[in-house]
Amino acid sequence: MRNSIWFLKGLRNGKKTEKFPRADPKDPPLWPSRLVGSGTSKCPTNAIEDGKWNAGKCISCRLCMPEYKPTGDQSNYKITGSVPGILSRSFYIYPVDSGTCGACNTELLSILAPQYDASRVNIFFTNTPRHADALLLMGVYTEGMDQVISKAYEAMPDPKLIIALGTCAVSGGIIGKSPHLSKDALIEIAGCPPSPYTILEALVRAKEGKR
């Protein structure tokens, strides 16, 4: 009996949620993060071309070191259009795995961990596209999931938007090409895989209508 009072155990653990994104991230990873550097460097995905680094193609392989170095800056995302204002109150996401290695899936789920607690900023996952505001695509294009993704998007009510999460979904990365609906993504969250900090910040900024 002593051990089954989970409610008290939860209270005893105390508050673990961090202030991010209102404050700086507590433990940002170096890889992936924004890179700084100059010149040409070997890059298996052509993320470095003409001395410019493209976050959407970077797989954090580190082959560009020492010409390029990670900064720890987690803002590896791009919001390319206006998110409908009605979604600012609550934001329901339907994630679909098109062809991942599993890392993006677990980093996405990590935003539910107490350190991030996405639900406190009204970001939720839904089990059906019928209740979704956003279709979140992860992984590379695969034949088997192509029709599944299209049907999920058709089943979503308006207004709706697409999020591409991870380098595979944004550009195809090193494995293949991106899912066909990724080209219409309003939010591109780069990284292989993107950290929970990057995912949460991108979703919060988009929900608030910022770019």
Binding site: N3, A103, T106, M145, I174
Partner: protein, 390 residues
Amino acid sequence: MQYYKTTRGGGRYIGQTRSFSVYSDSITPPIKVEKISTEIIPGELVFNYGPSTGGLTESVRIALTTPGEIIRAVKVDPSYKLRRLKVVGLNLIDAFLQIERINGYHSSSYQAAFIKAAEDALLVEKSRGLDEELILQMELERIRSHLNVLERLCEPAGFGVPFHQIAQMREEVSRLISAIFGHRYFFGIHTLPHSELRIPAGVTEITKGIERRFALLFESLQDSKIFVNRLQGNGKIQKIWLVGPAARAAGLQYDARIDSPSIDYSKYSFEPFIDDGKDAFARFLVRGNEIFSSFAIVNQILSKGKPETADLREIRGTGIGASRVESPQGDLFCYLSVDDGRVKSIEFCAPSVSNIIAFEQSMQGNIFTDFHFNWESFGIWISEAGVEIE
């Protein structure tokens, strides 16, 4: 190949690759695997779960054949998200970038299997420092992976508090991995010519803190009748071909850390935790107890300072090699043929393939409400089952 023979099957059966049947000390031409009949009997229906729905971490279709309540047959189809990796012809570094992404959540197991197969193929002398570094990676990965399975077992039980507390610990382990290796999933750590490892100050206090909190939580879960009742008697299976925690939960003392020469674990005094319950609860117990033994190994390595890393740029030549390592879900076998420093042929035998068959067989005779607990108890990763290497 120094360790694997290509004669008759010897040792325990591990699984199949495209071209071989894999045993613990030999590889042979493939044998035929008996398939479960999924023919529908009048009065039965097939309930499709997936390929994309809530409750599934990855895309997979699970077809449950049932007359109403009892599950008569299950068929798991991992091919929806089938990825095709083009590795043949690449140099070892470029190949490595794809290999570590076969199963990103267990990338260090794939890294270790690949590095050890390359060592075997090209007769590279073993480095004790490298083994130590790979063990550190793999044991941290095992802790996080087992925490993930336990977290997923709490979710369908509606146990919100332990679910979130384990999620918190899993995140702490991810941050520890990031602090040491620079990446939360170990990507890219062996592409550099020099070690980039950093051992943060007070690291053993961090690991001991997580271990202490996990011990209290693990004990509480075992004391919870509501939780235990969902797992006991659910998904019973005992077959000699089981691997990893599923085998050890069926009373079989199978562990590649003990019976594979690929990585030397002899310096670390641990014995695999064995339970003979054969069910989802036994698999829960095995994983929980393995978290403690993995923490003990991690602490032993971390207390000594920074181990070495492998440099794949130094590996050149021609040859055929094989390796077998204990990934968090069981034996992971790699066959590698290298021609002048480039991959000529490569095949993996992934533990999730064996675990999918074990899940299908163990689900027969169970009821619908058992499904999620049993599925999660095997810790299956579709990414390593639904992949082709060309």
